[in-house]
Symmetry: D2
């Protein structure tokens, strides 16, 4: 990990949520030598960490509608076993300082979209100036939003714009590269795409690939390259607390199940039937369990099955990827790249600008792209 001072800012949409808090606590922990770099893709030699903005130079701030402090959230995560309690204690003062850089988020009940874009952009620009940063990367790690009703119609600063789109517009208005880790389809709305193109900034998304979709994108190519016929792939997800509650609403969940399903069909080359459910189990807290049941045919139609149970902590899986995306997007910006960074598809369920879903191919594309940044 690079130890020289960098001047990259990280602006979280949802700065006091589980993912952002875990990312901040973890970055501070790694910086102080209190935590290993496990889970950080950008620390692998293939991605040449020394040529990327160092973790120890990142400066954090963000928007959130919640008044609960970063410190309180970090303590709650420690209680849930997501981050070590000793680590939270060790970085307490730094967390409090970062919390001072969290600004009130966007609430449609409080201001118009046009007002919000202007105010949020000013917050981002102010943060950049206050800390004398070379650039700020905006990363949306807020809760999943319902899909837009008629995305094609959203071509102006309409007050029906999804919340996520407002933040994206504010990022571009502030001259900040933008990454969305949520399934909100704002990078597919004409008004956002137009603003992105006009800004000449790089952007990436969407929907972080952290669990079930991750292992699907590793396993489905196995069936494809062995010419084994996928007859059905059933997916069941049990989620705890926060994200689980949001996704218990079937309309909102559609944002997620849509992006989860598309990759499998693309890899298989045909629609693979099978139910997909996301259910909330309050008691699971920050943890989630996925069970997948795969029915496939081998030679002469012999029917076989593969079952997978995945027990993971969503925030611990997402947080390092968020830091990776900041480092890579900042490096792309520094290298003068603009538009959709399709080569970051490795990180996403629904890669903007790309059609490749096979994990190993995405990894290869990422490594090649990273090398090209230095050229």
């Amino acid at each position: 990990m690079k130890s020289t001072k960098s001047s990259t800012g990280v602006w979280f949409v949802g700065a006091r949520g589980s993912v952002a808090t875990t990312a901040v606590v973890g970055a501070l922990g790694v910086r102080h030598g209190l935590a290993p770099t496990t889970g950080l893709v950008t620390e692998l030699p293939e991605l040449d960490p020394d040529g990327l903005p160092g973790l120890d130079g990142l400066v954090f701030g963000g928007h959130d509608v919640s008044p609960r402090s970063l410190t309180k959230k970090a303590e709650a995560l420690a209680d849930d076993g997501v981050v070590p309690a000793v680590l939270v204690a060790a970085v307490g003062a730094e967390l409090a300082a970062i919390d001072d850089d969290v600004r009130h988020g966007y609430d449609p009940a409080e201001e118009s979209v046009a007002e919000a874009v202007e105010r949020l952009a000013a917050d981002i620009a102010g943060f950049r100036e206050r800390h004398d940063l070379e650039r700020v990367v905006v990363v949306d790690v807020a809760s999943t939003q319902p899909p837009a009703q008629d995305p094609e119609s959203l071509r102006t600063l309409d007050d029906d714009l999804p919340v996520g789109a407002v933040y994206a517009l504010a990022a571009f208005a502030a001259g900040a590269p933008y990454v969305t880790f949520t399934p909100s389809p704002c990078l597919r709305l004409p008004v956002v795409i137009e603003a992105a193109e006009r800004s000449g900034l790089p952007y990436a998304g969407c929907d972080g690939k952290t669990g079930e979709t991750l292992f699907k994108s590793a396993l489905a190519p196995m069936f494809a390259s062995r010419n084994l016929a996928l007859r059905s792939w059933a997916s069941f997800n049990l989620l705890g607390g926060g994200d689980g509650a949001t996704l218990a609403d079937p309309v909102t969940a559609r944002s997620k199940t849509d992006t989860k399903r598309s990759g499998l069909d693309a890899i298989a080359g045909h629609a693979v039937p099978g139910p997909m459910h996301i259910d909330q189990v309050e008691e699971l807290g920050e943890w989630k369990t996925a069970w997948d049941h795969v029915l496939f045919d081998g030679f002469l139609g012999t029917r076989m099955t593969m079952q997978i149970t995945w027990q993971g902590c969503d925030s611990a899986l997402a947080a390092p990827l968020v830091l990776d995306l900041v480092r890579l997007t900042a490096a792309a910006h520094a290298a003068g790249r603009s538009g959709a960074l399709s080569e970051l598809g490795f990180f996403f369920k629904d890669p903007i600008g790309g059609t490749e879903h096979r994990l190993a191919e995405q990894w290869r594309e990422l490594v090649t792209w990273r090398r090209g940044l230095d050229a």
Copy 2:
């Protein structure tokens, strides 16, 4: 699938075993349009099937020490649900004809190694002449043999040579390209390597990657490229009838567990601890069940698990790969290739001549190599 007549012979070591029988019944089924090409990798467009020896032109024969006819074996496999009973009935006459081309195998109690090599080679050459074949590919699909005690010492036609090595020497003596689908390490014995090099023939092996090792080689790279730390990977295999009985002997099983384990360590870049067991459960018949328990660390050391249950039919997984290997090895021979075909590592647990174990990379190597054959 190519429909023109080819003149490629397939000589099975273990011609009346489950894998060979399934391969023969399946090839005949596909030839007559009675079975789909599911499971045949060489039928994927990436491998340009039309440029390979057609399934409908393959001519079958082989060695076996068992006197039980191919037809009887096929009927037993139908009872076990491995091949459709109607298919066995439809190709009954052809099976009987192929059985006439099965010759008595090598039994160390009956003849010396030198005598055996000569006799077996003559069988192969006779088959080639009798059917006017351009070439014969020898494929070893016999039962797993115990590992050689001191492989380095086996430099001559010593009577301590493992059974598999005798067949390999016979193939090379007969001028036949050779593939071993079993874990027997004969392609690593000096006396065999020397004969292979002298012959100028292409060869490939060893130990077909059909189940647990297959999905490991698809999943382990996911952990590696996400920088997730593999703490333990436990593997439990329940096998039925034939192969289960052979592997119930711990010494013989070592051939298999050794090759199963090495790939994982190579992909992870370090030794991944964890028990590995192969147990026989008679009642499973031709089926096997594997359960894997993976313990890994995410960001900040958060402990997570992944569990996989694989329920497959070994012969139905192996048989199409055997046909693939014949077609590819025959094409390599036709193209003048010689020596270890390391680019066929996609098919093997323990690829001769190669060090790549990641399935997706192996697939990419295979596709590139296949394209090169036509150049």
Copy 3:
């Protein structure tokens, strides 16, 4: 198994369905010594088989709306691996004869409820006379029906009566003991209860306990008697062909999920949260897979999990229980019992007349009751 001639008739509602066909083929197979008595509870010594109507004396008939013959259905089941093909071939002539005793079922589009009850009852009575039977037990093994909208209001021969209720009324009108193996709640409708009571006949139901609910009723008491706190019990069911299609309709499925859930809560002594899904996976055919995820607290609130995967063939699980219920209900009728046979709760998800759901306690009740029949 008793070998003396009995004069008990079995009248299936849904006589050409999977369960009835498997029961008939199996009973004939056992009768001819071609199949073991596995799965038949009434063949256990605790239930004194010799004192019950013998399997070899049962005479079969029934109603069905499908014109597809019993023989065709049996052949389809053999293709699906539910019954051995050789057994179907061996009892072919008997199946054809039984098919002659299958009468056209009730279709609300064709006749009024009053007409139907009269016609169906005449069919049953005719069967009894034609074969000179001492008694006929009517068993409903038809597809799951949607729950009645307002069960309390159904007090007359209203044309809104659920289909299952019409068959129950016909059974009572014909003087036949009645068992329902489906989740249809007809034994809870006032008009049916009244007819049942008036008839003085014994009856039993409802919803056969064959898979997930079966193992739940064995496992949930373990948690209760160990004072382990059930925090969540998630249940996912993948069903193939027939039953799957019926249950894909969420309204109809409610009949089933309601009865599946109630037992668990009763055993735990409180409502246990957790999702429950029934999904159709066409390709599973006659097979079903259930995955349950149980989250529980041990001492000091330590959170633990248990997961269960059940892969079963529904008809093979249900068919022997249907034969058991016929034998036991016939014996109860012979012994002069009337009303709800609550002691048969061992067989049902939603036992009529009983509140005990713990499998071991139900078994104890059944054995005690069986002994009492001889007193």
Copy 4:
């Protein structure tokens, strides 16, 4: 839970191990209202807790060969997530006081068996007098010991006596009821049985039923009462730290696999084949994972499977049962019972004096016996 002062002492063999420490911390937690009574069977109304020695009156002491203090051990358990850290902090002073009542254990290298029995008995008696206790129950929760080579030959105070037997003899010599929660077969040695009988004291054991064997004893009766034929039951256990290391030695493990297997065969009524492995996975710490694969036949021989994955914390499962056994054994002693308490089989893999292994039947026996104590 009873709140009146009791005068029951608890003397742990292995007082500073995971199970004893968890039991002590938990008992103190419940006493102070800081923890729920989850997992304590004796808090269920069926066992009439008010008539048993109250948890708040138990006085703790014991033997251990480890010098590491109870407090250190409790802190390590908190780090591992077995007991809440706040609870350990809250009862710190009490733990230190209890640690003063832990005496040096028996080490065959240091003293003869005869000397040890005398010294250990004096420790127990001293504890009873020092705290003015009505009675002391000795509970062996030490590590698993290898099975005795020739148990029948051990008829005197021979120095080949297993370690566990020495503690049992000391308990009887001190007039203390004795319970062994370990698989050590000392209650089956003639010299121990004789001492037990002579003492007129009650005793119970052996090998606490906490995980895989627990759910087996709940599930196996389901197969039996449904007449489903168990063809194979494979059991794989992954254990962490302490117990895992002990059981990695195959000879010692035999103590455990022997008792685990016998119950299943007894319930099934025949030997059920299938592999059983216990493997250490260091990284699992205090946690264990068991995977069971059950192959069974239904009607007409249709083959089906059930798989179970159990992820539990051994100490959290064992500790409350140890407290239950103390309360019940003390009550039995108070009621004048002597000899093997076979009705406590509910708690054990290998119940001394009993042959019933079905969990529900054991529960019923326990409840009946408990009622009889008050008579």
